[in-house]
């Protein structure tokens, strides 16, 4: 009963957010909608017992990635002045008819394919009772510390690479005097 409600709410939030990201013409708003969508995904995780993932989704996306994106939007001039000093469109258009047409085409093609792949699953709906959710954190921790220890360690190296690389790329440099 409540499970279904939670699922419905999360799904609605996810899909609504995602559609709004597509629909929105304002980058900042799109970012907020993305936050909503990711929040919904966290709810969906919670529905099938991935409680740790749900929390991770909250911490990393809501607290991290979205803030990072909001910052990046501000650093690239927000959504204000549309034209830069070269006369170029500074904050680029959020798309026009042509691009939407291309995107629609790509989406249709992709959806055909995906539907073909998942058709068998959709046709055969197992209606068994779902098992209760287990405690995942300890199991995840055990997996991370034993079976996936290499991935665990390497992810730290990857994060280090991302940190150093992004810091180098985005570090303010002195402008050349021309």
């Amino acid at each position: 009963m409540f499970s279904n409600t939670l699922f419905m709410l999360s799904a609605a939030l996810t899909l609504g957010g995602a559609f709004a990201v597509v629909y929105s013409q304002n980058l900042m708003h799109a970012c907020i909608y993305l936050l909503a969508s990711l929040f919904g995904v966290a709810g969906l995780y919670a529905c099938i017992g991935a409680d740790f993932l749900a929390a991770t989704q909250l911490v990393v996306y809501a607290g991290g990635v979205v803030i990072l994106m909001l910052f990046a939007i501000m650093l690239t001039g927000g959504t204000g002045n549309k034209i830069n000093r070269y006369g170029l469109e500074k904050v680029a258009a959020m798309g026009n008819k042509k691009t939407y047409f291309t995107a629609g085409f790509a989406a249709v093609v992709t959806s055909l394919i995906i539907l073909k792949i998942i058709a068998s699953v959709l046709r055969a709906q197992p209606s068994k009772e779902l098992a209760a959710n287990q405690v995942t954190v300890e199991k995840l921790g055990t997996l991370l510390a034993t079976d996936h220890i290499l991935a665990f360690e390497i992810s730290s190296v990857m994060l280090l690479g991302a940190l150093v690389g992004a810091a180098i790329i985005s570090r303010p440099r002195k402008e050349k005097h021309d």
Binding site: T102, F105, A106, V109, T110, L112, I113, I117
Partner: protein, 718 residues
């Protein structure tokens, strides 16, 4: 003793950690980095020594330590896909470990002197550490996959070391050449691994032996040839690349562009040894694939050909480089004629004396800042310790009795002789082998005499050569290495022929402990079970019956006696040949000025012929030799230039030229006459389409990607 991960791993991990640490600190704390590298390899050497002594203490043919762990396991249900990694230490590995760490330690110490005024002093040690740890990892590996990983790591290190002086164009080219040439072998090696995997389902040495013993390779064919032959050949191609066998030998002489200690490491202890080591490990496969004659012939051609080239070199390092190729040829001959133990012994002895030779050459070069032998001469007064070390090493490599080279090389040659008498295919092998031995003795002593004897030919250089003092890091390493050129350490007897046993039979540890895994005893490996790390080692679990590994196994008393007789004859012949070579060299480069009367009276028939040389100085002598050997030399040069340059480079150019001609004809006759406009339009059209596709717009690429992927998925049945 009980081996665990913590007692074995430091051997590899210490140099590796030294590499990791030094990679960070090398810029600021060069001295510290050098100390870390040297200290690490020295401690590693102590570990290896302990392992070696332990094995010597057990003194059992079958004693080994094999520990594995599962790297990853992708098995699902019935299909097993599991990759194990692990270490495998048997007698051979323990000897290799000792040799590699020992030589590397000596070379590290020597490098602290040789490289100390180099601007990239520290970086050199960083590479050395990685290189050594890669080699040690290769030696400890229990399966081909990790061998391949370390193999490639070494390839990279040699690339870095050869191109160490990357400002010099030649060094850059040489490093590229080394990298590319070995790559050819590596591709085949990988193919061989895959072929073995397809049969064995695993690439651990022991499992491969088991599969061979169980006859799993019977009636299996790849590309129409027996799979064992295919796999064996592919793996041997890897050896050819790494150990510089004809026709992949071209990279090794260029490898001398690197600093001399690194040449010592590449030529002696690590890189080239890896190839031979691999072939030795895969010996049962080679035997099963009937590849031995082929291997022997390749080895013989290499041994002789390289020796002839070495005759005409004037660069001291080039002589050594070609002699390395030649000696590697002997090791490969050893594999080919089934002289497993002697081949491995030659690997070890060669590592020692060649390391010493290179270090001595480095010492000379560093002292006089010149590599050309015609400009040297008379240096033995200035560099007495170097001279002493080099003399012993030259004795060793030439095969003078009581020295290590004699023990190992003559066993190989003796076995070659036995095989030649048994089968005519091996006759050229034996002939070329003996001829190569003669040339070896000759050119090595030619180098020695030109460098150290006679009068200084370039007084400017001679005057500027600083007098040598017994420095702890410049000369002690040489002297240590030169002591180990004595055959005593390897055979326990002076001659190595089992005739003079100084300490009794038990001390012939080398020929007792190292034995080839015979095909007819391989099934004993089937009882073997690999152990996970942390459990007890497999001591005595694989205790193979001594008889199965006896040299005389399957031979009657009479046959054994016969073989022994042939060995004896071969030994005598090679002693004679060695002295002949030395004698010839001596007569050409030193003799006349010292004992001319003795010469004329003893060899009166030869006097007139030799007299001509009295009035030639070294340059002319060289010209004569070059003139005599020019055809052969040209043949080898033709290999180098004619094959590689002509067919790879010029051939491609010819193809291009041909295509160009065709298209010009096409252009002139068809396009220009009337089709210009139409073609132009079509080209424009194509251009437009291509330009539209190649727009640099990532999103368009993405859409195209989706469509292509979609069409692909749509066609497959799900």
């Amino acid at each position: 003793m009980d081996y665990t991960l913590s007692t074995v791993a430091p051997v590899v991990l210490l140099p590796f950690f030294a590499f990791v640490i030094n990679a960070f600190i090398v810029k600021k704390f060069t001295k510290l980095a050098v100390a870390v590298s040297t200290g690490a390899i020295f401690v590693s050497f102590l570990y290896a020594l302990r392992i070696f002594l332990d094995f010597l203490n057990v003194y059992s043919v079958g004693y080994n330590i094999h520990k594995t762990f599962t790297w990853f396991d992708l098995s699902t249900g019935s299909s097993i896909f599991k990759v194990n990694m692990g270490i495998y230490i048997d007698n051979m590995t323990s000897v290799m470990l000792l040799m590699v760490t020992g030589a590397a330690t000596i070379i590290h110490i020597f490098s602290t002197w040789y490289m100390h005024d180099d601007p990239r002093f520290g970086r050199f040690f960083v590479y050395l550490s990685l290189f050594t740890s890669a080699m040690l990892g290769l030696v400890l590996s229990d399966n081909l996959l990790s061998v391949f990983i370390f193999w490639e790591l070494m390839g990279f290190c040699s690339y870095s070391l050869i191109g160490f002086y990357y400002e010099k164009e030649g060094a850059g080219n040489a490093s590229l050449k080394a990298f590319m040439t070995t790559r050819v072998g590596d591709v085949f090696f990988l193919l061989g691994i895959l072929a073995l995997w397809s049969v064995v389902g695993n690439v651990s040495f022991v499992d491969i032996y088991n599969a061979i013993g169980a006859g799993k390779f019977n009636n299996l064919y790849a590309l129409g040839i027996p799979l064992a032959t295919f796999a064996g050949f592919s793996i041997f191609m890897g050896t050819m690349g790494k150990s510089a066998q004809v026709p992949l030998q071209v990279w090794l002489p260029d490898a001398m562009w690197g600093p001399t200690p690194c040449s010592a490491l590449i030529h002696a202890a690590t890189m080239v040894a890896a190839g031979v080591y691999l072939s030795l490990r895969m010996y049962p496969l080679m035997e099963l694939g009937h590849l031995l004659p082929f291997i022997a012939i390749i080895g013989a051609i290499t041994a002789f050909g390289a020796a002839t080239i070495a005759l005409v070199q004037t660069d001291i390092k080039a002589v050594l480089a070609y002699s390395t190729i030649s000696q590697l040829g002997y090791m490969v001959i050893g594999i080919g004629v089934g002289s497993y133990n002697a081949s491995f012994m030659h690997l070890i002895t060669h590592a020692v004396f060649k390391a010493c030779l290179f270090l001595s050459a480095g010492s000379v070069i560093h002292s006089i800042h010149c590599q050309e032998m015609p400009q040297m001469g008379g240096l033995r007064k200035k560099l007495p310790y170097t001279f002493f070390a080099m003399l012993l090493c030259c004795f060793a490599i030439a095969g003078v009795p009581f020295f290590s080279g004699f023990v190992s090389k003559d066993r190989i040659l003796g076995d070659a002789l036995v095989m030649a008498l048994a089968h005519p295919v091996y006759i050229p092998v034996a002939l070329l082998g003996f001829a190569g031995a003669f040339l070896t003795a000759f050119y090595m002593f030619r180098m020695l005499f030109l460098t150290f004897f006679g009068e200084p030919r370039d007084h400017h250089i001679y005057e500027h050569a600083h007098h040598e003092h017994l420095g702890w890091n410049s000369n002690i390493p040489l002297l240590i290495l030169s002591v180990f050129t004595l055959g005593l350490f390897y055979s326990g007897s002076f001659t190595g022929q089992g005739e003079v046993n100084l300490f009794g039979t038990k001390n012939e540890w080398f020929s007792t402990l190292i034995h080839r895994p015979d095909s007819n005893s391989l099934h004993h490996f089937a009882e073997y079970k690999s152990e996970e790390f942390g459990l007890v080692d497999t001591r005595d679990k694989v205790e193979l019956p001594r008889a199965h590994f006896d040299e005389s196994h399957g031979m009657s008393e009479k046959e054994a006696h016969h073989v022994h007789q042939i060995h004896k004859a071969g030994a005598l012949a090679s002693i004679f040949i060695a002295f002949m070579g030395i004698f010839l060299a001596y007569s050409m480069y030193v003799k006349r000025s010292i004992y001319p009367g003795w010469w004329t009276s003893t060899f009166s028939g030869w006097t007139r012929a030799l007299k001509n040389k009295y009035y030639f100085d070294d340059l002319y002598v060289k010209k004569i030799i070059q003139g005599l050997l020019l055809p052969f030399n040209n043949l080898l040069a033709w290999f180098d230039m004619g094959i590689y340059d002509k067919y790879a480079v010029d051939g491609w150019e010819a193809v291009n030229r041909f295509a160009f001609n065709v298209s010009r004809w096409f252009d002139n006759n068809i396009i220009d006459s009337g089709m210009v406009d139409g073609t132009g339009a079509s080209v424009n059209l194509m251009n437009a389409i291509l330009r539209w596709i190649q727009s640099g717009k990532i999103q368009l690429y993405f859409v195209v990607l989706i469509v292509v992927l979609a069409s692909y998925i749509w066609t497959i049945h799900i």
